[in-house]
C-alpha cells in the first residue's frame, strides 16, 4: 500500500505546479469555510447568549395555551401553585438544569404622574432571576451589589425612562386590571434603568414577584412562566423533550408547555439563516474541490493514456489501476484539507489576538467576537473534502481502469 502511495505521489508531482495550485485552491476553500464557520458560529453563540442569558433563559415552562396568547399575558393561564410545585420538583431532579426562576407577568399602565404608557411587567425573584439570566444585572444602571431590586422597587426600561424623563429614585405608579376585572395600582421607586438588548423598543419592567402578586391580588402563589438555565445549551432539545415527558399530565389533563429559546425568540430564525449560510459556503467548498480535482484527474488520465496501456498490458488488475488514481485524488484532498485546516487554525489564533468587534444594540456597546473552531467542525470539513476528492477522482479512475490496453498503447 505504501508503495502505491509513493507511486501516486510521484505521479502527482510530475506536474508539481498544477498539483500545488489545485491543493492550494482546496486549502483556500477549507480556510474560507472554517473561518466563516468560526466567525458565524461565534456571532451566533454570542447573540444566542445575549438572549438566553439576559432575557429569556435557555427554555421556558408555561401553562398549556399560554404561549399562544403570549401577547395578551393572560392571567387565567398562570401555573397554579400545585403545578408550580410539580415543575420545581421535576426541574430539581433534572441534572442538566443549572437554575430556574418563576416569573409573574402582566400588562399594565406605567405613569410618572404627568403622563402614562403601557408596560409589560415582570414580577421576579431577584436572586433566582440573576442566576438564570446572568447578563441581566449588567444591563441595569446603576449596578448594585445588593441585587437586582428589592420589594417596592422597579427597574424601568430605557425607552420609557428616556421618553418620560424618569430617573433613578423617582416614584412611579403601575396600574393593572386583575383577573376578576377590578383595577389595582401601586407606587414604586425607580431602582434602575434597564438598557434594551437591541436598541429602543423594549417595554419590559421588573418588580419583585411578591409585589406582582399583590398588585394582581393573587391569593395563591401562581406563576406565569418558569425560566430555566441549562448547564450546557448543547442539551437543550434533549432537556426540552425530557421535561415535556416528565410534566405530561396524561390524555385530557391540563398539561404544561415546554419551549426552547429557539421556539420563542425571533432570533432563532437568524440563527437558522446563519446555519443555512454556513451550509451554502460548505456547498461552494465541495464544488470547488469537486471541480478542481475532477479537472486535474481527467487531465491526468488523458495525459497518461499510453502509460495506462502499459500498466494494463503487464497485467495490472483493473481494480489496482482504479486504486492508483483514487489514491492520487485522495492525496490531493488530504494535502488541501491539511493545509487549509492548518491555515484556519492559524487565522483563528490571529483573530483571538486581534479581536473582531462591532457595535450591537444601544446599551451593550461593542460586541467582541471570539471565533473558535470545534473539533467536530474541523473533522467534518476535512472528511467532506477528502471524500469529495475521492468521489471526484472516481470517474477518471474508472475510465483509466476500463481502458483497452491496445488502444491505449496506440495512443500518441
Amino acid at each position: 500500500m505504501l508503495s502505491l502511495i509513493v507511486i501516486a505521489w510521484r505521479n502527482l508531482m510530475r506536474f508539481g505546479r498544477r498539483t500545488l495550485l489545485t491543493a492550494g485552491l482546496i486549502a483556500i476553500g477549507v480556510l474560507a469555510v472554517l473561518l466563516f464557520v468560526a466567525l458565524s458560529g461565534s456571532f451566533k453563540n454570542l447573540m444566542i447568549g445575549q438572549f438566553t442569558d439576559s432575557v429569556m433563559g435557555d427554555l421556558e415552562i408555561h401553562h398549556k395555551g399560554y404561549v399562544a396568547s403570549l401577547d395578551n399575558l393572560p392571567l387565567n393561564l398562570n401555573l397554579t401553585p400545585a403545578q408550580w410545585q410539580r415543575a420545581r420538583a421535576v426541574l430539581a431532579a433534572d441534572k442538566t438544569v443549572a437554575a430556574y426562576a418563576p416569573v409573574v407577568k402582566f400588562g399594565g399602565l406605567f405613569s410618572n404622574f404627568t403622563e402614562s404608557t403601557n408596560v409589560r411587567v415582570n414580577g421576579i425573584d431577584p436572586a433566582r432571576e440573576a442566576a438564570v439570566l446572568p447578563l441581566l444585572p449588567g444591563r441595569v444602571a446603576p449596578a448594585d451589589a445588593a441585587g437586582l431590586l428589592k420589594p417596592g422597587q422597579i427597574l424601568v426600561p430605557q425607552l420609557l425612562a428616556n421618553g418620560m424623563k424618569v430617573k433613578v429614585g423617582d416614584t412611579v405608579v403601575v396600574v393593572t386590571t386583575n383577573r376578576d376585572g377590578s383595577v389595582n395600582g401601586r407606587t414604586f421607586t425607580v431602582r434602575g434603568i434597564v438598557s434594551d438588548l437591541s436598541g429602543p423598543g423594549g417595554r419590559d419592567a421588573y418588580i419583585d414577584i411578591d409585589d406582582a402578586r399583590h398588585i394582581l391580588r393573587l391569593a395563591t402563589p401562581e406563576v406565569s412562566e418558569v425560566l430555566v438555565r441549562l448547564k450546557s445549551l448543547e442539551t437543550l432539545h434533549a432537556t426540552v423533550a425530557a421535561l415535556r415527558s416528565a410534566l405530561d399530565g396524561g390524555p385530557g389533563k391540563p398539561a404544561f408547555e415546554v419551549h426552547g429559546w429557539d421556539d420563542l425568540s425571533p432570533f432563532a430564525h437568524i440563527a437558522r439563516l446563519i446555519d443555512l449560510l454556513t451550509l451554502f459556503v460548505k456547498v461552494i467548498l465541495v464544488s470547488i474541490a469537486l471541480i478542481s480535482i475532477m479537472n486535474v484527474m481527467i487531465m491526468a488520465v488523458y495525459e497518461r493514456i499510453r502509460e495506462i496501456g502499459t500498466i494494463a498490458a503487464i497485467g495490472t488488475p483493473p481494480g489496482r489501476i482504479l486504486g492508483l488514481f483514487l489514491i492520487e485524488g485522495l492525496l490531493l484532498g488530504v494535502i488541501g484539507a491539511a493545509v487549509g485546516i492548518a491555515l484556519s487554525l492559524g487565522a483563528v489564533a490571529v483573530l483571538h489576538v486581534h479581536k473582531v468587534s462591532f457595535a450591537f444594540g444601544m446599551g451593550n456597546g461593542t460586541v467582541i467576537l471570539s471565533p473558535s473552531l470545534r473539533v467536530s467542525d474541523i473533522v467534518t470539513v476535512g472528511v467532506v473534502v477528502i471524500v469529495v476528492a475521492v468521489l471526484a477522482s472516481l470517474q477518471p479512475a474508472w475510465k483509466a481502469a476500463r481502458m483497452d490496453p491496445i488502444s491505449a498503447l496506440r495512443h500518441i
Binding site: S3, L4, I7, R10, N11, M13, R14, R306, E307, G309, T310, I311, A312, A313, I314, G315, T316, P317, P318, R320, L324, P405, I406, L409
Partner: protein
C-alpha cells in the same frame, strides 16, 4: 502444420495457434489482419516474426499477449485458450506468465530504474518488499543496469532504457516475453546488444522470447523466424527451415 509437428516433437509448445483469424472493421470495410495462421512455439525458443508494416505482426503479438481475442481458430498459451479469458482473467494471466517489451520502452518517467523494474512486482505480483528488492537487483545485474538503479529514465540512453524494459519484463519470473519491434528506436549497434542480451537471458533463464521486427540483421539472431505477409504466415528460418 509442419511447425506444430516440430514443436510437439521436441518440447511442449508454449504457444499453439491453429488457423487463427483476426478481423478489424475500418469504417464500413472489414480488414482481415490474420488469415488462418497456424504455428507452435516450444518453451525456451527465441522466435521472430518478420514482415512489412501492416502485415499483422502487432495483431499477432497482441493475441499472444492476451490483449486481444481471435475471431476464428484456436490459440492456446501455456495450454490456456485465450479466447475464453475475460478482461480480468486475461490481466491475471498476463501478470502471471507474460512480460512485455515495447518499441518506445514505455518506462514510467516519474520512477527510477529500480522502481520501474519493481513496478510489476508491486502492481501485479504484490510481492513483499525484501523479495522485490532482491529480484529487482538480480534483474538489473543481469541486464547490466545495477549501477544505474537510482536514475530516472530521462537520465539514461535508449539502449539502457530497453535493457531496463527487459529487466521489467523478466522481473515477475515470467515464462514468455513478447517484444513488439524492440529495436526500432535504437541504432544498429545498440539494437544488436539488446538482442544479444535477450538471447543470453533466454538461455540463462529458459524464458521463451517472441519478438517482431522488420530489420533483416536483427532477424538473423532469431532461432526461428516466421514471416507474416498480408495476414498469412510462413516459416522462413530456424532449425527446420
Amino acid at each position: 502444420m509442419a511447425d506444430i509437428a516440430f514443436a510437439e516433437a521436441h518440447a511442449a509448445p508454449v504457444i499453439r495457434a491453429d488457423t487463427v483469424e483476426k478481423r478489424y472493421r475500418v469504417g464500413d470495410v472489414e480488414v482481415k489482419a490474420l488469415k488462418g495462421v497456424s504455428f507452435a512455439i516450444a518453451a525456451g525458443s527465441f522466435v521472430s516474426f518478420v514482415g512489412p508494416s501492416g502485415s499483422g505482426k502487432t495483431t499477432l503479438l497482441n493475441l499472444l499477449g492476451c490483449l486481444d481475442r481471435p475471431d476464428g481458430g484456436r490459440l492456446t498459451v501455456f495450454d490456456t485458450d485465450i479466447a475464453g479469458l475475460n478482461r480480468r482473467a486475461a490481466a491475471r494471466f498476463r501478470g502471471a506468465n507474460i512480460g512485455f517489451i515495447f518499441q518506445d520502452f514505455n518506462l514510467m518517467p516519474v520512477l527510477t530504474v529500480f522502481e520501474n523494474v519493481e513496478y510489476p512486482l508491486i502492481m501485479v505480483q504484490n510481492w513483499p518488499s525484501r523479495r522485490r528488492r532482491e529480484r529487482v537487483m538480480d534483474m538489473l545485474a543481469a541486464v547490466g543496469m545495477a549501477e544505474q538503479a537510482g536514475k530516472r529514465p530521462d537520465q539514461i540512453s535508449g539502449g539502457q532504457k530497453q535493457r531496463v524494459a527487459v529487466a521489467r519484463a523478466l522481473a515477475p519470473e515470467t515464462r514468455l516475453v513478447l517484444a513488439d519491434e524492440p529495436t526500432a528506436n535504437l541504432d544498429h549497434d545498440t539494437a544488436y546488444k539488446v538482442i544479444d542480451l535477450m538471447r543470453r537471458l533466454k538461455t540463462e533463464l529458459g524464458v521463451t522470447f517472441v519478438f517482431s521486427t522488420h530489420d533483416p540483421k536483427i532477424v538473423a539472431a532469431a532461432e526461428i523466424v516466421f514471416r507474416l505477409e498480408d495476414g498469412r504466415l510462413s516459416r522462413e528460418g530456424g532449425p527446420h527451415a
